[in-house]
């Protein structure tokens, strides 16, 4: 038993609150705690869901009867574009991320996520980006080219106003939030599970979130790149998607769907995680086939990256290539089927009780099965051609998204509602809410399959009477309003339960996972003491866990040092490796996101001077953020720990920061690969690809620049190796030396760029090369800045032999920068020569 157990739980709680407590008033904007951030994500996502739903109701009103003129074509275009955009980008992904941010630390027995300030930064980016995007709707200049903004419709010629710019800049801003949450979740799940929670003991929800987070890390960069390229085309005239100047609009489709199809599974997998968490609880037995379900989740995640072209079957790609994607699209039904059978088998062999969440799960099973089956139909190329761009596709999409995501999400919300509030919802209102939603949904979308088969195209603002579409549209519209009533009923129930819901008590559903071992609602620190968890069902094997945790009977219950701490563990076995000390509340994430939103707005209104100033200020803020770290007085200057405990993570070489850097570079690498794909695609497929007679870049100077960069990276690696051996002699001077070498590389690269005869607005060829150069310069420049900062930190004593982890964190960045430099050189200079272009 821990010595701190001598303290009373109330005293322990007070001591913990001094360190972990959340401030009130304006200072609430500084909160970085995952519980608060997760709830903020979910509430904000919920508000956007209502706005997106309102737009849908407007559209259904317009389509209820033929030849109506309630809404004109331009506004209708804005409505369907914003409905799709809001639901996919501002509701679905942030909502599941918010739930994951809220639940993951609690499920894995941790006190917080490992980069809490990144979570807060992600939230503010999401909020500000969303507000910027939605402001376009209020101003009547919302994007109107559909939620996948295909070129050439979305280029400057066919969409001349700022409408599309709102989409491109706003969404890119929101995606910063998604990727940062992805990185955060991957590292937290792998590195901060409580003692003994091996991978094979991890709750299934965590497996799903791990897969989802990796998918975000790899799946979002293609769209980020696509958005940057399209914005560059619109703002500067760089012709990436303009056939006349060597680009290709189909490239946009590839980049969009490389993101877009995994996106569907990014939304579905967390929902499947909810299902896999809830069904065993209500079936009152462990899930059947735990390992099969994990296998299915991982397989789904991977295979979903191989389906993107099935959205493009009608654009004229070779039949064999279509067949590849058709087979892949059918293949993904297999892991989904495995999960279905595992859920059914669990219910079959269990003793199910049908509380409210189960109602939603059964609704999910029915609706998602139907959506999955129409998905297999759409994977068949001839059928896909037949119904392409009709309401059949709209119906399928909604069966998959609403059935596959919204129903499990609402099941999850009802399930964890007592966790959020400590109170139970009303059974009667909840049942009304379910049945209205279920009936309304099926009424709206089941018949929409028929509307599509009758030939009604999607995205038309009205239609002639007598085409056979009148009745199905009227039914769909009535169904839509019933669906809206169901959602209103749920909302009413949730709001009401905070006031009059009966107290939930401890673990009201008799659940098995650790989040129910916190108090309800939870405290900011989650657990006073961190329990060991060598089983999959800790709350079933040890029913008194909540009490013993609150009494401080488990580990890491010391708080006198004033640090926010949680265990750092081995990714596979869950054995404790180190103590991770976490940063506290700060204004920096809020300010950084605020300044970035100024950058976003100034790009939108094309005031580039202000954009540059905002960029510099945000860089300074982010550098200040990184400054308060390691042995800085604001972080962990005193590294003493209780005898027998492992060291603080900042005193090791294998910190979460290193893991965060590597996962970030995965994302960065996905963006770079997308750029490479774009370059090669235009070379091979671009219908009017134009290559200059002479190479625009001199290879000798590029090679010299590369040698300088490689030298700097090699030196850095040597410095780290010596530091690992305990030698920090001349560390500061060596870091300054590396900085100087890197600076020379950057200057040379800048000189090459500015003196090269690149005609970036004339040919896509030169435009892509300019993007390559900018990418390399960004990486080289950042390596220089942060290494210089490290040298400065050595001088202050914040980095050194006893606090070495930051030096290790930067090493992958240097190696990556060198790698992408030489690969770029290869594809820019050598590959074209081999192809016979220059």
């Amino acid at each position: 038993m821990n010595e701190k157990t001598q303290k009373l739980p109330a005293r322990l709680h007070n001591d913990f609150m001094k360190v972990w407590g959340n401030p009130q008033g304006w200072r609430a904007l500084t909160i970085v705690n995952h519980t608060t951030i997760g709830i903020r994500f979910m509430v904000t996502g919920g508000v956007f869901f209502l706005i997106g739903g309102l737009l849908a109701m407007l559209m259904r009103t317009q389509l209820a009867l033929p030849e109506q003129e309630i809404i004109g074509p331009e506004l209708y275009n804005q409505l369907f574009t914003m409905h799709g955009t809001i639901m996919m980008f501002l509701f679905a992904v942030p909502m599941v991320e918010g739930l994951a941010l809220y639940l993951i630390p609690k499920m894995i027995g941790a006190r917080d996520l490992l980069f809490p300030r990144l979570s807060a930064f992600g939230y503010w980016c999401y909020l500000f980006g969303s507000i910027i995007l939605l402001s376009s709707l209020v101003l009547g200049i919302a994007p109107s080219a559909g939620w996948f903004v295909y070129t050439p419709l979305s280029n400057e010629v066919y969409s001349p106003g700022p409408n599309i710019d709102f989409w491109l800049l706003g969404i890119t801003f929101v995606e910063i939030s998604a990727v940062s949450a992805g990185v955060e979740l991957v590292v937290s799940i792998l590195r901060s599970r409580t003692s003994g929670m091996a991978l094979l003991h991890m709750p299934l929800f965590c497996w799903y979130i791990l897969v989802m987070a990796f998918m975000i890390v790899f799946g979002f960069p293609p769209l980020i790149l696509g958005s940057i390229l399209l914005e560059l085309e619109r703002a500067v005239g760089m012709p990436f998607f303009d056939i006349a100047r060597g680009g290709d609009p189909i490239l946009w489709q590839h980049l969009f769907w490389l993101f877009g199809h995994p996106e569907v599974y990014i939304i579905f997998l967390p929902a499947a995680g909810i299902v896999s968490t809830l069904i065993p609880v209500f079936a009152r037995r462990p899930i059947v086939g735990y390992r099969w379900v994990v296998l299915a989740a991982i397989s789904t995640g991977f295979i979903s990256f191989g389906l993107w072209v099935h959205h493009m079957f009608t654009i004229g790609i070779p039949q064999l290539a279509q067949a590849f994607f058709s087979v892949a699209s059918m293949l993904i039904a297999i892991p989904t089927g495995i999960q279905f059978f595992a859920w059914i088998a669990t219910l079959w062999t269990g003793r199910p009780v049908y509380h409210i969440p189960m109602l939603w799960l059964l609704g999910f099973l029915v609706i998602f099965l139907a959506g999955g089956l129409t998905g297999v139909m759409l994977a068949l190329v001839p059928f896909n051609w037949q119904v392409h761009d009709t309401h059949f596709v709209v119906a399928h999409l909604h069966y998959v998204i609403i059935g596959g995501m919204l129903f499990p999400l609402i099941a999850g919300l009802y399930y964890w509602l007592p966790h959020f509030s400590g109170r139970m919802p009303s059974d009667k209102l909840a049942r009304w809410g379910f049945w209205l939603t279920f009936i309304g949904f099926n009424m709206t979308f089941l018949i929409m399959h028929l509307t599509g088969l009758l030939g009604m195209p999607r995205r038309i603002y009205t239609y002639e009477a007598g085409l056979g579409w009148d009745l199905p549209n009227a039914v769909s519209s009535v169904g839509g309003f019933i669906l809206a009533m169901g959602i209103a009923m749920i909302l009413f129930d949730i709001i009401l339960h905070f006031r009059i819901g009966r107290p939930a008590g401890v673990n009201p559903w008799h659940a098995d996972t650790l989040e129910w071992a916190t108090s309800t609602p939870p405290q900011p620190y989650n657990f006073i003491s961190l329990p060991a968890d060598p089983t999959r069902h800790p709350m079933w094997t040890e029913t008194s866990l909540q009490a013993t945790i609150a009494e401080g009977r488990h580990t890491l219950s010391e708080i006198d040092h004033g640090r926010r701490e949680t265990w750092g563990s081995d990714p596979v076995t869950g054995k404790i490796r180190d103590i991770i000390h976490l940063p506290g509340n700060s204004w920096l994430p809020f300010y950084a996101a605020l300044v970035l939103s100024v950058l976003c707005i100034s790009l939108l209104i094309r005031t580039y001077e202000i954009a540059l100033i905002a960029l510099l200020i945000s860089l300074l803020l982010l550098l200040r953020w990184s400054w308060i770290n390691g042995a800085h007085p604001g972080a962990a200057p005193d590294a003493r720990v209780k005898p027998g405990y492992p060291p603080l993570h900042s005193r090791t070489f294998d910190s979460p920061g290193l893991w965060g850097m590597v996962v970030t570079l995965f994302s960065d690498g996905a963006l770079f690969l997308s750029l490479l794909f774009g370059w090669l695609y235009l070379w091979v497929i671009g219908p009017n690809w134009q290559v200059p007679d002479a190479a625009p870049l001199a290879w000798t100077t590029l090679v010299i620049a590369g040698v300088l960069l490689s030298g700097a990276a090699y030196w850095y690696r040597r410095v780290l190796q010596r530091l690992k051996a305990g030698d920090d002699h001349y560390l500061q001077y060596q870091l300054w030396g590396i900085t100087t070498l890197g600076l020379a590389h950057c200057c040379m690269l800048l000189w090459i760029w500015t003196t090269a005869p690149l005609m970036v607005t004339h040919t896509a060829h030169d435009a892509v090369i300019a993007v390559f150069l900018a990418y390399l310069l960004f990486h080289g420049g950042l390596a220089v800045i942060v290494t210089g900062l490290q040298a400065k930190r050595v001088a202050y004593g914040y980095v050194g032999k006893s606090v070495p982890y930051e030096v290790a964190v930067l090493e992958p960045w240097w190696l990556y920068t060198v790698g992408v430099f030489w690969i770029s050189l290869l594809v820019i200079l050598l590959l074209p020569s081999a192809w016979g272009g220059m």
């Binding site: 091996a198 991978l199 094979l200 390992r291 994990v294 296998l295 991982i298 397989s299 991977f302 295979i303 990256f305 191989g306 072209v309 070779p318 039949q319 064999l320 290539a321 067949a323 590849f324 087979v327 892949a328 293949l331 892991p335 990714p571 596979v572 076995t573 869950g574 090669l680 091979v684 497929i685």
Partner: protein
């Protein structure tokens, strides 16, 4: 080969599958742009043959890795940490899924001409 107990086994088989898939798609597009065979040849073209050989090699490799992981999991039942056994068993399944996915997709080259 990577140790059957290495955590990367949880992704390796499907990373190989995806890489193979992306390269095959890219290679098909390039081959059709550079040296498209006559449509009269049907499926008996150098492109189909090359893609089929590639498919068989990768499928074989993934099946081999799956068997190594599975045998290691069975042999290590008594001496290995259960966490690592879990990885080896799951790794075997992932490699197997990769092999099935590779062969299912690659097998299509037997049915269709490449550049139509």
């Amino acid at each position: 080969m990577l140790s059957p107990f290495h955590p990367l086994q949880l992704a390796l088989g499907l990373v190989v599958w995806f890489t193979w898939f992306a390269l095959m798609y890219g290679a098909l597009a390039t081959a059709c742009a550079v040296a498209p065979p006559s449509a009269d040849q049907g499926t008996l073209t150098w492109i189909n043959v090359a893609l089929l050989i590639n498919t068989i090699v990768i499928t074989g490799l993934l099946l081999y890795w799956a068997s190594i992981c599975w045998r290691a999991a069975r042999a290590g039942n008594k001496r290995e940490n259960t966490s690592y056994l879990f990885i080896a068993k799951l790794g075997a399944s992932i490699n197997l899924v990769g092999a099935v996915a590779t062969f299912s997709l690659g097998g299509v080259v037997l049915l269709l001409p490449p550049c139509l």
